[in-house]
């Protein structure tokens, strides 16, 4: 076993750091429905951590717990070595956690560019008056941030639709814009909820490439929920498997793949 406290280096030479976030004994209920039951796992710096499980297992709920939208009835969330107290989601975002959503949550009334710019809101500082007069800091800031955003736009290859209102985009491009918005915040931890749903193989390949590049270039830690086992197994370093709100497996893709519980509950047949 590798040294798990201080991190390790993967086979392809990426550096995985110490634990960034730790979920301890999380339980989340909605009235009578137990969405998550006593789940613990950790996320290491720089790794791609996948969460898989059948529909309704509680994966998205887990992301919502991480991003502060759901408050679990029991359990603790530790981030960067500190216990995270009760926080509103926007405060969590300011810690450097950003995400995409399963049911696309873009701002339909805005252009692609503006949507991505909203990702940088937590980083922009100019005041109301400044903005109103469009002087000095406001204008400078706008230009600076615009440059950064343009880099992301280039990176995700969505230059052509920069000014299109997002409402008109097809599903797959929306997902890409959502990723761009999340990236624009320059997060430490990026949460992706089914980023490849509704894409064909080629588009999935593109998306995989983006995810890997983000992880590589910026060292961003990524939590990924995905139903395409090919993608999960190829991309992730470690996988948590949930079923009916419980954790039924946790480990490297290979370990998970051969876990009989997982095969039984989720995979159906052994995937290669």
């Amino acid at each position: 076993m590798k040294d798990m406290t201080e991190g390790y280096t993967t086979a392809d030479g990426r550096r995985i750091g110490p634990v960034l976030m730790e979920m301890k004994n999380i339980t989340l209920r909605f009235g009578g429905v137990k969405a998550i039951t006593d789940i613990s796992f950790d996320i290491r710096e720089g790794e791609i951590r996948a969460i898989i499980g059948p529909n309704g297992a509680g994966k998205s709920s887990m992301l919502n717990v991480i991003s502060g939208f759901y408050v679990p009835q029991e359990g603790e969330v530790w981030f960067k070595g500190y216990r995270r107290g009760p926080m509103r989601p926007y405060q969590v975002a300011r810690l450097g956690i950003s995400r995409t959503f399963q049911n696309i949550a873009l701002f339909d009334g805005m252009s692609v560019l503006d949507n991505i710019m909203t990702g940088r809101l937590t980083l922009m500082k100019s005041g109301l008056l400044n903005q109103a007069l469009w002087w000095g800091r406001a204008e400078r800031e706008e230009t600076e941030h615009r440059e950064k955003v343009e880099k992301i736009i280039d990176f995700l290859e969505i230059q052509a639709i920069r000014k299109t209102p997002v409402g008109r985009l097809p599903y797959g491009l929306k997902k890409r814009v959502e990723l761009a918005r999340a990236l624009a915040a320059e997060p430490k931890l990026l949460l992706l909820d089914e980023p490849m749903a509704g894409m064909n193989v080629e588009e999935k390949e593109d998306m995989s490439r983006f995810i890997l590049d983000v992880n590589d270039e910026f060292g961003t830690t990524i939590v990924l929920i995905e139903h395409d086992m090919g993608v999960v197994m190829d991309l992730s370093d470690r996988v948590v498997v949930m079923d009916y709100g419980k954790k039924i497996g946790d480990g490297t893709p290979d370990e998970v793949r051969s876990n009989p519980d997982v095969i039984n509950a989720y995979l159906g047949v052994a995937h290669d």
């Binding site: 909203t118 809101l121 109301l128 406001a138 706008e142």
Partner: protein
């Protein structure tokens, strides 16, 4: 083919976030401004000023204000009339208490006071959403009107509760009171509108505007990506109320000259301004102008046509006018739910493609 935007030739991002990125648009804008400042003041008469231009300018301010709240931040408000009343009464109290201070300052202060009141009534928006909020803002509407009607301090204990604007001057020209000339009224309102529209434009194209729009389009997602709903919504309420307060102050002091709160700032006003922004286009400054122009001009026009041209009896004309206004609103909404601003955009899109469709 004069409408050209072949490709994106901007070389800097600052250029790209200009208000009018297309040259032709920019020219047209300069032309409009030139006419508004350089021609109209010299030809305007009492009728045009009082029946058309001054109300249009003032309503445009109010419409921009409401558009910030409703069009940009997504919080539907039916309390506009009440907030205009706050502006009007604040202005009245200031004018009578500090006669030596410039009316311009009074108007702005009145806006400031309205902003504070707006924030107060904006607090419930943190929990209440959609139509529930819209109806809840009626509480502000009715309460404020009642307050100004009931507390004699607000109307300086006058016998009937009416307030009348005393004469005040700017640079020696009266801008309120009976002696005001048409062009003074017009210019005073125009200058304020111009400045406020410019500020609104700046606010809406930058960070603040994006926060508002994010809240409008999907408040939960906005909060998760780091928008603080409290400050964002309240800032929208504050700024919107500021505009509406200024509009209320001008409405009373410059336009009407005397006002009775229930009549001048009743719920009808709230609806009227809401109409303006919806017909004009939610989330568009240009739309606020277009909507205000439409709602001010149309009844005047209809009346002049029906009564003046066709010689109908006034009551018949008034009823037909109501029907036509109602029908036009519906027709407009059916033709283009996103308002005149969108119609304009689509027209431009078509023009740009012209003469090759698609």
């Amino acid at each position: 083919m004069f409408y050209r935007e072949a490709g994106d030739f901007k070389t800097s991002y600052a250029d790209d976030s200009q208000t009018f990125p297309i040259r032709f648009d920019r020219l047209r804008y300069y032309a409009v401004v030139a006419v508004a400042f350089g021609v109209i003041p010299f030809v305007i008469n009492d009728y045009w000023a009082n029946a058309v231009f001054v109300p249009f300018l003032i309503y445009a301010i109010a419409a921009i204000g409401l558009n910030i709240l409703t069009g940009y931040c997504g919080q539907v408000s039916l309390g506009t009339g009440g907030f205009m009343a706050v502006g009007a009464y604040a202005c009245y109290k200031l004018m009578t208490a500090f006669p030596e201070v410039s009316i311009l300052i009074h108007v702005l202060l009145a806006g400031g006071i309205t902003a504070m009141v707006g924030v107060l009534f904006g607090l419930p928006s943190l929990r209440i959403k959609g139509f529930y909020l819209a109806v809840a803002t009626l509480a502000a509407q009715f309460f404020l009107v009642w307050l100004f009607n009931k507390v004699p301090w607000f109307y300086n204990y006058s016998a009937s509760g009416q307030i009348s604007a005393p004469e005040r001057t700017i640079l020696g020209h009266p801008v309120t009171g009976a002696a005001t000339t048409a062009s003074a009224k017009y210019l005073f309102c125009l200058v304020i509108l111009f400045a406020l529209a410019w500020l609104a434009r700046n606010l809406t194209r930058g960070t603040v505007g994006r926060k508002w729009m994010a809240i409008r389009d999907m408040d939960i997602a906005a909060e998760i990506i780091g928008v603080n709903p409290l400050t964002t919504k309240l800032s929208a309420f504050a700024i919107s109320s500021f505009y509406i307060g200024v509009a209320g102050a001008l409405f009373f002091a410059v336009y009407l000259g005397a006002a009775e709160v229930g009549e001048a700032f009743g719920i009808q006003k709230s609806f009227l301004i809401l109409f303006m922004i919806i017909i004009g286009g939610l989330g568009s400054i240009f739309g606020s102008f277009a909507g205000a122009a439409f709602m001010v001009l149309m009844p005047v026009l209809l009346k002049n046509i029906l009564v003046g041209q066709f010689g109908w009896a006034t009551d018949l004309a008034a009823h037909v006018e109501l029907m036509i206004v109602g029908a036009l609103i519906v027709i407009f909404l059916i033709a283009e739910p996103h308002g005149m601003a969108q119609l304009w955009r689509l027209a431009k899109e078509k023009l740009r493609l012209w003469p090759f469709p698609h």
